[in-house]
């Protein structure tokens, strides 16, 4: 384990990360502070409407210690591409452009522009903090919402029945250099993946698991515990896809029953034992496919090379 990666850069400590208006126990803020920690001060954030944009600060104040560009909901990909072009034109290729969007802006509203900049292999790190619904506007279903989940638009009796969209496969299909998933419960893995993304050029897509206590109806104190359970139960496996082809599992889970994960959250309280058994079968099926993709290519360990 690379302890160096876990040491906070001075710039983040000096500026603090305090005073933001995210809810207690917010996963997105844990993710952002550690991603920024790895990317460093030479970074520009572009963010669409969403939790991150709203909780970053109240105009004219911002909690992020780097420039933070607000864009329209569907336009973060285009906005980030514009920032990239501007920086490149002024000779600042070394600055990292970080698109920081929720699942609504990524899976649904911004998918067109996202696909466009991925296809053009724009030199951008795109992070989707995946909290599996439109949380900021009041917990409406998105195409990232897992089946069986309660939201205000899929209330009890009409729980979401469609499966979660496989955005990782969509992004991998663009043959971009790097696609990865990471979890705040596995910070070493997360920071190594961000560091790896930073070293690569071209379009890099990271989907980060982002627990949302108000939206998921979970105890704020449980955010990390349930993030860990999501990984250990294979609901949210940790993996990488390089060049859209080379799949590798980053972590071999202990395979705890999905029910343990599902029962930590009120959004799954309407599930029957049969529903949970079905989710278990689906999870096993998807994880086995992932394992076979991983085995097909041979295991590749994440190694942070010396710079």
């Amino acid at each position: 384990m690379d302890r160096e990666l876990l040491n906070d850069n001075d710039f983040l400590r000096d500026s603090g990360f305090c005073g933001h208006t995210a809810c207690p126990g917010c996963g997105e803020k844990i993710l952002l502070r550690h991603v920024l920690d790895v990317l460093g001060p030479e970074t520009v954030i572009a963010a669409p409407a969403g939790c991150a944009a709203v909780t970053d600060g109240i105009f004219p104040h911002t909690v992020s210690p780097v420039p933070f560009l607000h864009t329209a909901f569907g336009a973060v990909a285009s906005g980030a591409a514009g920032v990239r072009a501007g920086l490149d034109m002024s000779g600042r290729e070394n600055v990292t452009v970080l698109a920081w969007a929720g699942d609504g802006a990524t899976f649904d509203i911004g998918l067109g522009p996202l696909s466009a900049i991925a296809e053009r292999n724009e030199n951008i790190i795109y992070v989707c903090y995946d909290n599996e619904a439109y949380m900021n506007t009041g917990v409406q279903r998105s195409s990232a919402t897992p089946s069986g989940s309660w939201t205000t638009t899929t209330p009890s009796g009409r729980l979401k029945s469609e499966p979660k969209k496989n955005i990782d496969l969509i992004m991998a299909s663009h043959k971009i250099p790097y696609v990865a998933t990471a979890s705040p419960a596995f910070l070493d893995d997360l920071k190594m993946k961000v560091a790896k993304a930073k070293r690569l050029t071209g379009f890099r897509f990271l989907r980060l698991f982002s627990p949302c206590p108000p939206g998921w109806k979970s105890d704020p104190a449980d955010s990390i515990t349930l993030a860990r359970l999501a990984v250990e139960s294979n609901i949210f496996p940790l993996f990488e896809i390089e060049d859209g082809e080379r799949w590798s599992l980053s972590y071999e889970s202990s395979g705890v029953p999905v029910a343990r994960y599902l029962k930590t959250q009120g959004r799954f309280r309407y599930l029957s034992d049969d529903d949970m058994a079905r989710i278990q079968r689906e999870t096993d099926r998807d994880y086995n496919r992932l394992k076979s993709l991983h085995q097909y290519n041979g295991y590749q360990k994440i190694v942070v090379e010396e710079q």
Binding site: G19, I58, F59, H61, D222, T225
Partner: protein, 534 residues
């Protein structure tokens, strides 16, 4: 008009701490091993140092509470291990071997520790066993002159004369005693009450009495006074003094179920005797340490439970005729154990060469005339000479605490603290805080994975670790229950970056902490809790 709106100041003004309804508090609680150590060792502390292979620091920390790590690493019954929270996951930490490792390191590497010069204060200690020598060691460390008297020719008390050499090697004891006695005056062959008395003690500022418990309890049966009926303690003392015994081919009976009985039986077997141990209750009620019983059962020693001698007589062939009676368990007695009740007409006879009795010991306090232990377990000072009374401290096996080496060590160290306070005209006050003990419920087991113990190799129970790597990998299994080891989880998982690292731990910035509780939930060891008050 700028081309676009730009924020240029931070959100520091937004004191989100006002959202909070419960507050995280870093507060170490007591690890169960430390709590259960009769000698008062900081076990978690020295294990933590061993993780980083800091054996010297570990030795120093350990000997702050117990001057005998090599001895206790061999003979202590280690209640720390029985209470280890790791046993909820795989197996408890082997503290015995870690302590022994530190003790053995000390024997190799620590000779004479530097001592402060002695000031005018002088202390007399009567009894050179673990209690007396612990008190002497800690008083001498504070620059107080110490004279230790003992009735035997060599120091060590029960360690030398009671514990057989197969449990505690004589050279280990000698080395450890040599270090402990450094700078301390030892007067051998001085029995209090016959070789010296109160008038010889008047020049001392305080006196610590730690003469132990050496009077064997009697069985109160006929024939008890026949010379071939001897106390187990006496036998052990003779055996340990000249290292020989003449029991080849002899049939021997040992009466009792405590540690002395076990040691006597195992020693007699080693001197060639055919040994039968008789105990009037069953194995479950044996007061000996579980480990001792386990070792006893491995030896070719016959054990007769629920059996008691009824009378003993000399037979014509020079042998002893013993009548035994079988017992059954009745209602619990004052000790909480089932009372053995004789079964009528169950007598049977045995013919043996020797009988050793080991049914318990009492302190020999004849030098104080009527002074005795009160029923509550306190020492009765009322009849003692006025010149001594105000300066007399009592400890070790005289008091009816569990009579073990670590209890004696703890008692001796406590006496040294009381005496040091007394010399300053103070009375030692003990903290009245209720100690909170870290139990399995305080551990976040997600952070600890099972170790395949079959790969760890097996060591005989009575050996130590082969090398530093073995010891430190065992130490690395420790959870550090209840005590922060700076894992950074609380800092790393805070969404508000309100847990700030400081030079000696963490500080929660209450101006911004929203009280989500992730830090406390993710603390692997229960040293951070949501306290709820401010």
């Amino acid at each position: 008009m700028p081309e676009m709106a730009v924020s240029e100041s931070s959100m520091d003004w937004n004191k989100t701490g006002s959202w909070r309804s419960s507050t995280p508090l870093h507060k170490n609680i007591t690890p169960p091993c430390n709590f259960n150590c009769p000698a008062g060792e900081n076990i978690r502390g020295y294990i933590d140092l061993l993780k980083d292979k800091k054996t010297k620091e570990a030795f120093e920390l350990l000997t702050e509470a117990n001057p005998f790590p090599a001895v206790c690493g061999r003979v202590c019954y280690h209640p720390c291990q029985a209470s280890c929270n790791r046993s909820s996951l795989d197996r408890e930490i082997n503290v015995r071997k870690l302590e022994r490792f530190i003790g053995d390191w000390g024997m190799e590497n620590v000779n004479k520790q530097a001592l402060p010069p002695t000031a005018s204060k002088k202390i007399a200690i009567i009894g050179a066993g673990p209690a007396g020598l612990s008190a002497a060691f800690y008083l001498r460390k504070q620059g107080i002159a110490v004279t230790v008297y003992d009735e035997n020719s060599m120091p060590g008390g029960i360690l030398r004369y009671g514990i057989p050499s197969y449990r505690l090697e004589k050279d280990v004891l000698a080395k450890e005693l040599d270090r402990v006695l450094h700078g301390i005056e030892f007067k051998s062959n001085m029995r209090f009450g016959s070789d010296f008395d109160i008038s010889d003690l008047l020049g001392f500022d305080a006196v610590f009495l730690a003469t132990g418990a050496h009077l064997s309890k009697t069985m109160n049966i006929d024939g008890e006074n026949i010379p071939e009926v001897e106390s187990g303690l006496n036998f052990l003392k003779t055996a340990n003094s000249n290292g020989s015994g003449n029991l080849k081919g002899k049939e021997v009976i040992v009466v009792g179920g405590g540690n002395t009985a076990c040691d006597t039986a195992r020693s007699a077997y080693r001197f060639g005797a055919k040994v039968t141990l008789v105990y009037r209750r069953t194995e479950a009620q044996m007061p000996a340490f579980a480990e001792e019983i386990e070792q006893l059962k491995k030896e070719p020693i016959k054990i007769e439970f629920l059996t008691a001698p009824k009378n003993i007589r000399k037979t014509d062939g020079g042998k002893l005729g013993v009548t035994f009676i079988k017992m059954k368990l009745g209602l619990p007695d004052s000790s909480g154990r089932s009372r053995p009740v004789p079964i009528a007409d169950s007598d049977f006879e045995m013919s043996v060469d020797k009988i050793f009795t080991a049914i318990g010991e009492d302190p020999d306090l004849s030098f104080f005339g009527n002074a005795r232990i009160k029923t509550g377990g306190e020492f009765d000072f009322s009849d003692i000479d006025e010149r001594l009374k105000a300066r007399l401290f009592v400890g070790g096996d005289i008091l009816p605490n569990p009579r073990t080496v670590p209890h004696a060590v703890g008692s001796g160290r406590l006496a040294s603290e009381k005496i040091a306070a007394f010399l300053k005209g103070e009375v030692l006050t003990q903290s009245e805080d209720i100690e909170v003990i870290a139990g399995p419920g305080d551990i976040n087991f997600d952070y600890f994975s099972m170790i395949n113990l079959t790969k760890r190799g097996s060591h005989p129970a009575e050996s130590g670790f082969a090398n530093m790597d073995e010891a430190s990998s065992e130490a690395a299994r420790c959870f550090s229950c209840g005590v922060c080891d700076h894992c950074d989880n609380c800092h790393n998982f805070c969404p508000d970056m309100a847990v700030i690292k400081t030079s000696n731990g963490y500080h929660v910035n209450l101006e911004y902490c929203k009280g989500c509780g992730i830090c406390a939930r993710e603390c692997p060891r229960g040293s951070l809790k949501m306290d709820g008050t401010e």
